[in-house]
């Protein structure tokens, strides 16, 4: 058989796979390295500068003063508040997500499997702002939720709830409960998918064995299913925690006037012009997520992603 004339380039690439590899990775590496890592380092570097309080100009000398400012009471409150909210949203999301994921993984078959899959996928991918907007409609004073409470003659329940300090407020749309609900709604699909992935890997025979050995359904859930779902829950919590911590739009649109980290970063870099402090604030989520990811990796959560 006549040997096809192959270009020298093809032959060279075939004989030296490493050359091909270099050609493949160079463009994406250059892009991510320059555009992304470059920017990230530019940001980190700025957090070590400080701002001159009188002139408002940035002082380009190495200092830890800006990080010291994070510990000032008003700033430290922002950090605590944000981490508390991120934790609450994560726990809430895990509780709401588990039954959905469990049902989808174990009982949904055929058509229902597709319904559950798309039922989680479509909200996950639909526009973030539209989702936030829909909650502005729901929580508004003249909106559907208040209407519902009034129609059911339960308005007093809502009022009693709003009277509770800290989580209540003048109306749901300006309370922490409102902020919490919107966060929970927007990030819920990110919790469902990894839990479902980890539950799909649990062999049904294991649950049968647990039942055969005399465990009540509650015991099977507690001692067999939950431990096996834990990597999925942790994987999901990475998303819910990180996304809540960095968000600045939801607390701005639904919630009280007290700020979260994202809003502080936004204001310090924008109107206040204090880029070093904004950068230092931005480093907090990076560090918290770094610790979180290390712990999660140890718990084997990455296999469930």
């Amino acid at each position: 058989m006549a040997k096809a004339a192959r270009s020298p380039l093809s032959d060279a690439l075939w004989r030296r796979p490493n050359l091909l590899l270099v050609l493949l990775v160079t463009p994406p590496l250059l892009w991510l390295g320059i555009v992304y890592l470059g920017s990230l380092f530019a940001l980190l570097a700025q957090s070590f500068f400080s701002i001159d309080e009188f002139s408002g100009l940035i002082n380009y000398e190495f200092t830890l003063k800006t990080y010291g400012e994070l510990l000032r009471a008003s700033n430290f409150d922002i950090l605590l508040r944000t981490i508390a909210m991120a934790s609450a949203v994560t726990i809430g999301a895990a509780i709401v997500a588990f039954p959905i994921a469990y049902y989808a993984a174990r009982y949904a078959r055929g058509r229902w499997k597709a319904v559950f899959y798309l039922g989680v996928m479509l909200p996950l991918w639909s526009s973030y702002l539209v989702k936030v907007y829909s909650w502005k409609l729901i929580l508004a004073k003249e909106g559907i939720l208040n209407w519902l409470f009034e129609t059911l003659h339960l308005a007093w329940v809502l009022e009693a709830y709003l009277a509770i300090p800290a989580i209540g407020g003048n109306s749901l749309s300006v309370s922490w409960t409102g902020t919490f609900l919107v966060f929970l709604y927007v990030w819920l699909p990110f919790m469902i998918l990894p839990i479902q992935a980890s539950l799909e890997r649990v062999p049904p025979s294991m649950l049968e064995a647990s039942g055969d050995l005399g465990a009540r359904p509650g015991q099977t859930l507690r001692h067999v299913i939950l431990p096996l779902a834990l990597p999925g829950i942790i994987a999901g919590s990475i998303f819910t925690f990180s996304l809540t911590m960095g968000d600045y739009i939801i607390p701005q649109i639904v919630g009280t006037s007290a700020r979260m980290i994202g809003q502080a970063v936004y204001q310090f870099q924008g109107t206040a012009g204090n880029i070093p402090l904004a950068a230092a604030f931005a480093v907090v989520p990076i560090v918290v997520m770094g610790i979180y990811l290390t712990l999660a990796k140890r718990a084997g959560a990455f296999n469930a992603l």
Binding site: A4, L9, W14, G246
Partner: protein, 267 residues
Amino acid sequence: MHSKAPLGLKVAAIGGLLFLHLPILLIFVYAFTTEEKSYQWPPPGLTLKWFEVTWNRPDVWQALGLSLRVASVSTVIAMVLGTLCAAAVARSKFFGRETISLLVILPIALPGIITGISLRSAFNIADMPFSTWTIILGHATFCIVVVYNNAVARFRRTSASLIEASMDLGATYWQTLRFVIMPNIATALLAGGMLAFALSFDEVIVTTFTAGQQQTLPIWMLEELVRPRQRPVTNVVAMVVVLVTFLPILGAYYLTRGTETVAGQGK
């Protein structure tokens, strides 16, 4: 095992799904309301008037145009870079392989505000004026991961011996790429591209930092959310945005259905 689900579980699961969908459906109702000053429920009346009003709003069209341009260009860049990266990571083990997969995921694993503020400060340092290209730079960066996730899964399932066979039979690299590799990964790429498009089309957090004075559609919406001017127009735009993003997601689902990894799981 075909046991039936306990009633409580069924109720919680279906209740959860309803919780995810009812708020979006609510917007569809609001797009037809006759009330224009408040978010009154139930709507006092229904009308199609606002569709016409929205249709005649040049600012909406401008924002939509910019969003479509940005999403198209970012998707193309992300598809090229994501596929290259996936091809390298899936086919061989090399030094720094783990680092590359981490690097690809990082722009989406870290909160968007960090990506946004980093890019903005880098643009400032480099003295780059804000333009459509600064938006694209940001969007392409976080879209790479979506294409990468889809492509890497498909590459792993495509057997390397196919490529070897093709080369052994005398095909050039170009021919192998064209007739063996592409048909195998095409649907995964298309699905990744569609998801990247959807992701870019409604991204707002990074965009607020990289857009300058320009308005993409999500930025337009954000403005309306913070300072409402004409609520019914916002309702109509919100509904259209939901419909526009549903199409690529359904498309990506049908393209990758039946394979073990379905597109979009790692947004």
